[in-house]
Symmetry: C2
Subunit: 219 residues, 2 copies
DNA sequence: GAATAGTGTAGTCATTGCCTACATCCGTCT
DNA sequence: AGACGGATGTAGGCAATGACTACACTATTC
């Protein structure tokens, strides 16, 4: 009411339009900047320019927002891995590409990697999240099985093969994002080390392809 | 004053005596129970039976308390690894024992492993903490170098060898404590898988000792 | 154009970390 | 012994937060 020469050209829409998505993006940004522990719903609302109660219309509580963020993270992570796993002449090569992608995605999207690894902040039992994690896991799992079927690595049963390679990629990304590696060892080409580490794991069945340069770019 | 038949046999000393240590223990317990994110100084004070301001006498703020907790965690972690690294006929065997110990310690002391891996909650630059981390790192690093010197693993330069084995142990512990492995794969003998995974990494220079049973107990 | 569900606002409450003023205890010096 | 002072614990206050509630504005549908 009262259209009396209000000088706001832009009427600042009462309804935001796509607050939900904007909140998720802002949350990812904030997590990357100030860290997951410092994330505040009210600060998020201020950042986006809505009242402190507005987020509640889209997420019943903070945990729900973070669950949605974790789900989104997983979807993108999985998409990146699946794409990486399409290139390569052999199943082993494709699995290796997925491993490198795992580390690279984590480094390039620290907020996404962060949230997924901190189930105390979200509901890991959430249905959409679980479904996403299952797809994520299947992508890795199938590639691992194909690699092993094609070329051996007889020392490990399939489960142990998958878990140990997964763990190595996960550990590399984690220690890198911690700052632990840089603090203790100094600057390190983490992707090169990852590539070489995978070679060693695979070397027990195949002759390790000696990595001379920095194979950090495979895309 | 007023010793008028107060029926408190235990006078509830005004001075607690060793509040600092009790707080750290209670914090570790709370982290293991409710998680690091849910830790509250006031709840901690209530649990221990002091006023909400008392912890401030020992830790200027929450971060300081968690830094102390992380430092304690690291000391114990390092002691466990050093002890594990004393047994074994060869340097390779001793390093393998350290790797198994890494995973075992994390599983048995989830709160300690948790806090160290979450530098957003404490001051990684703290002097005592840094010193502790350096010792922790040196313990691993020296054992890795000895193992490699003694028996090869030529495919990897020493840095990559250390980082990739460390990452595998770290990743196994992390994924296990996440609940990720159990959620996706079901019950798993994580220590057996760890032992076999380490064998594979070492297999490129040495013939892998085939692990038949569950080598989860090496102490 | 009125009903109705969806979305944003504004105010309240308990809890939290941190700060300050005060109380109590303990060791030390005389 | 007794006074003093530093160390340690208490009590109350403050701003910020997550969650809740009552209300306002908008869009859609009949």
């Amino acid at each position: 009411m009262s259209t009396l020469f209000v000088d706001e050209e832009i009427p600042v829409a009462y309804h935001h339009g796509n607050l939900r998505e904007v909140l998720l993006d802002a949350a990812a940004e904030a997590v990357e900047g100030e860290g997951l522990a410092a994330l505040s719903l009210r600060a998020l609302a201020r950042k986006v320019g809505v009242s402190h109660g507005a987020p509640a219309r889209h997420f019943p509580d903070k945990t729900a927002l973070l669950t949605a963020l974790a789900t989104e993270a997983l979807d993108r992570f999985q998409a990146a891995m699946r794409e990486a796993g399409e290139k390569g002449d052999s199943a082993l090569e494709r699995y290796r590409a997925i491993g490198r992608c795992y580390v690279r995605f984590a480094i390039e999207n620290p907020a996404y990697f962060h949230i997924v690894g901190r189930p105390e902040f979200y509901s890991a039992g959430d249905e959409a999240f679980s479904r996403g994690y299952q797809e994520f896991f299947d992508t890795m799992s199938e590639a691992a099985a194909a690699a092993q079927r094609e070329s051996g690595v007889q020392e490990l049963d399939p489960q142990a093969f998958l878990i140990s390679t997964w763990a190595m990629a996960h550990g590399l990304a984690t220690l890198w994002l911690d700052g632990t590696l840089e603090d203790r060892i100094g600057p390190v080409d983490i992707e090169a080390i990852a590539a070489r580490a995978f070679d060693v794991v695979f070397a027990s069945s195949q002759s390790a392809t000696p990595v001379t340069g920095a194979p950090s770019g495979d895309s």
